[in-house]
Amino acid sequence: MRTVTEIGRLSPLGFAFALLVGCNAVIAGNASGGPTGGGGSNSAGGTSMGGSIVAPNDVPTQAIGALTCDVRYAPDGRVWRLSPEQYAAAVADSFAMNVDISAMPKDGINQSTGFSTGSSDNYVTVGFADVVWDAGKLAAESKAAQLQTQMPCLSSAPDAACIASVVTQVAGRAFRRPLPDAETQRYVQFFQTQSKVNGEGAALRMLLQAIANSPELLYRTELGSGAPGNVQLLDHELAAQLSFMLTDAPPSDALRAAADAAQLSDRATVAKLAKDLLATPAAHKKGDQFVSQYLQLSGLDSKVTDAAVADAMTASTQAFFSNLAFDSRGTFTDLMTAPSAYVNAALAPLYGVAASGTQLMRVELDPTKRGGLLTQLGFLAAKPGPIHRGRLIKEGFLCGDIPAPPPGASLQKDKLAGPDPDATEQQRWQNFKSQQPCGGCHTMFQPLGLGFDHYDEMGRYRDTNAAGRSIDASGAIVGTSDADGSFVDGLELGKKISASATGRYCFAKRYLSFAFGRDVTTGRDACAIKGVGDRMIQNGLVLSELFVAMTQDDSFYQRNNVE
């Protein structure tokens, strides 16, 4: 349970409402002494290296829209190590060299957010540092050769001014900000010292290597002036935040120019620049990462034995999202209901359509059988079976919490399977739901997965199970209040999610966690979620409005520097 210390961050009205509605994560039937709440004395242990998080009680997701937000939460100041992809883009930008990051460890998925973008638990590991070193050596060599042809002053006995101009040019680009003189001189002195020992050529290479390994390149800062307490982010920090957040790349020339001209405290300017970035292929790629991690598509690797099919499923699901988010002003409703798919020869039989070749082509599917992200093959095959499908829907699309199973829960497998080997999943559920200790909590999520029982473990549509019995995909949403109610199948479930405040603000919350790289909660971040969700809702649920809205919130511009 989170500690209540920042009540004043929400308006009195909003907080009172939160208290009235209560925590939507309390589960009936969770036995005392059960799996939740263990280790409660370890209050600072939950966020790994990121320190403790103190926040008011969570506001139920569906109640966010009713909040009145007078005071916003300023996230902690932080540094944020570039991801491997961001690092490669930064080196390409400042050294004009493509880095092979295939040997660089991928950033880990943060268990709280479900995304790898978290700033708190990614650091420079040995594997990361190894690649940075090796790439830095190559980058320095190629950049040195390039500079020697471009800068005549480097041809013999370069003076301090010549080296200072190298530093200004290369480090200024690599660090994504102008360098103060003292910082420039530190590099100049390094060159001069090394030049005496190793010669000018080696010293230039070493200088460039030092820049390529600098923490100023490898981390981006959100510290503002660095003063304790609340601060405004600097223009160049805002430029880096905007660019890396939307495209995983360092700021473009236009963005740098706006930062140089101190224009980024103007939110309309930032909104315009954000729209420009969202139109780039790099933004689509970042969207691919979001949807892959949102739906946990990496699970396809072990579940779909044909790698070509697994890869096509991932690409197809990404294309579905990307088209709506970036190409067609698609809406959240489209995301949850649109009956289209991107299909190639590998996927065509699974969708029951005709296609050839490896290229993915858009097709319109039978709207009585397919609709939305949750009927895409990627989700269905990565999460075969009603339990795992239901869990992801409950946690990812309704922002509900599911308590850990009680000890020995897996030994209840026989109860889950039931006595009839030919039973449908619905029949099994009807047998299982009243059985304790599992049935109580499973009621929260297993019926959501049952909604997709018309799709087998590869995502093929079916009317009967393997034993020939008719599928019954009906069920009910519980625990959300506004989205609660019965559905006949997953198609109706998707519509209910898209029409509910719970579903809409939950999607906003999930995207904010991904983009902001921290565990955005419905407590301290409730007003940010509201601001972003409201803008999407007020603009006809258009997804791209949500991405722009992120850049308009106070939490984009302000930080609270802590010890």
Partner: protein
């Protein structure tokens, strides 16, 4: 520090070493010694062999034989030629598991430190502890292709609380980083002239360290901790690029031969995922064995597949996890077959080390994510090698297990049940770390004296 529960409930010494039929050693939970070992006389290495989803217990175990010794149950039959170099340990519990005591506790198996977050390790893992003892970092390797990004399912190696060490999944990267700057002793040129590049690299690294210190001074304590890890990583880079290789531990030329290893490490991935798992995994094992033989590394973890997931090497439908939950076709037949497939790989590990003359100086431990059915109790672990380090091999060590296996961590913590931490205590002692506890002090009992004296 909380008072040790086990110390309050310590059974009497009479419980020690009651017989369990011929050959088996029924081991009391307190067989401990407070005598600390001196550093071992020989250099030692550790290889942790990690597989997911537990095991089908009825076939993944051993049976005591009349007159001593034991026979393997069917899933482990491939190891028969190496029985004298293997001890099978039954009955250990992960007493530091969370209340969930399930898949997620794989993050705590190599650390044995309790903590509230089920997805976080709270202390250094045994592979890190052993590597640090010798002034380095372990090889933390995993086999392509699986989860694109690490998550709790792949986090078993922890540098310290909250900081996991990602696996390196590319054999080529392993080869380049471990052997790239290394010339095996066949060159016969221990008197090689120092390379000026090494000194230049050192100067660059020193400058970068200065940069990091300046940068760090502006940050919160939490972020400073990240920069400390960055500095740790640079020390490893420095060993590779700015230090003359120490050939004193390189063993003999034949053992340290790199013949063909570079080519194998650079080989393309195979289209068939099971063939690929085998080929890549065995290449990783050869890289580990060679790094030990050349004296370049002292500790390694080979992580075969992610917890609660995993390719099905039996190809019979469903993934490994689904098979382990009887959700795949013919799961009852498939699960032991998967276990047997991994036993074959464990055999390969033994032979890779033996062929390079380092098996007797290397302890290999097979550890699984869970035991059976979502729990952290009553494990079956295999230990191979390490004869020169005092490891007693050819034994079936069956510790008593009391309670319901699926009863969670409270059952595992019953004072009558033995802690998996004691396995790591014995191993760290074998490698010269004179500590009677590993991880949570209250869950260690001085080590498994039956596995190693002391």
């Amino acid at each position: 520090m909380t008072k040790s529960a086990s110390s309050l409930l310590r059974p009497s010494r009479r419980d020690l070493l009651r017989g369990l039929g011929a050959g088996a050693v029924l081991l009391a939970p307190f067989a401990r010694s407070r005598r600390l070992d001196a550093a071992p006389a020989v250099d030692g290495n550790l290889l942790v062999f990690f597989t997911p989803n537990g095991f089908a217990r009825d076939k993944f175990d051993a049976v005591a034989s009349a007159g001593g010794g034991y026979t393997f149950k069917p899933s482990l039959a491939a190891l028969e030629p190496h029985r004298s170099n293997v001890s099978v340990i039954r009955g250990l519990c992960n007493k530091s598991a969370s209340t969930k005591s399930s898949h997620e506790d794989c993050v705590k198996i190599l650390t044995c430190v309790s903590g509230a977050d089920t997805s976080t390790g709270y202390g250094p893992s045994i592979d890190q502890v052993v590597a640090k003892q010798f002034g380095g970092r372990p090889l933390t390797l995993a086999v392509e292709k699986f989860n694109a990004e690490p998550n709790w399912q792949t986090k078993i190696s922890w540098v310290k609380a909250g900081a996991f060490e990602p696996h390196v999944k590319s054999p080529k990267a392993v080869f380049d980083n471990v052997f790239g700057n290394f010339m095996p002793p066949t060159a016969g040129d221990a008197t090689r002239a120092p390379d000026p590049i090494l000194a230049q690299n050192k100067s660059v690294l020193d400058f970068v360290r200065g940069d990091i210190s300046l940068f760090k001074s502006r940050l919160s304590k939490a972020d400073q901790a990240k920069l400390d890890l960055h500095l740790d990583a640079l020390r490893e880079v420095e060993k590779r690029v700015a230090t003359t290789p120490d050939l004193s531990r390189s063993g003999n030329a034949a053992a340290c031969a790199l013949d063909g290893l570079s080519q194998r490490a650079s080989a393309a991935q195979l289209a068939d995922q099971v063939d690929n798992l085998k080929a890549q995994g065995e290449t990783m094992l050869d890289l580990v064995a060679t790094s030990f033989a050349c004296g370049l590394k002292r500790s390694a973890t080979l992580f075969w597949q992610p917890a609660s997931d995993g390719i099905n090497p039996n190809r019979g439908g469903g993934n490994h996890h689904q098979v382990s939950h009887y959700e795949a076709p013919n799961s009852a037949e498939q699960w032991p077959a998967i276990d047997a497939w991994y036993a074959d790989r464990f055999k390969y590990a033994i032979e890779a080390l033996a062929s390079r003359g380092v098996l007797d100086n290397t302890v290999v431990v097979w550890v699984t994510e869970i035991s059976e059915s979502h729990n952290q109790n009553d494990f079956v672990n295999l230990v191979a090698g390490g004869k020169n380090l005092g490891i007693k091999l050819g034994q079936y060590l069956k510790y008593p297990f009391v309670g319901d296996e699926g009863g969670g961590v409270s059952v595992g913590r019953d004072a009558r049940n033995r802690s998996q931490a004691d396995l790591w205590v014995s191993i760290q002692k074998a490698l010269g770390i004179a500590q009677d506890t590993f991880g949570d002090a209250e869950h260690s009992s001085g080590g498994l004296t039956e596995l190693r004296n002391g």
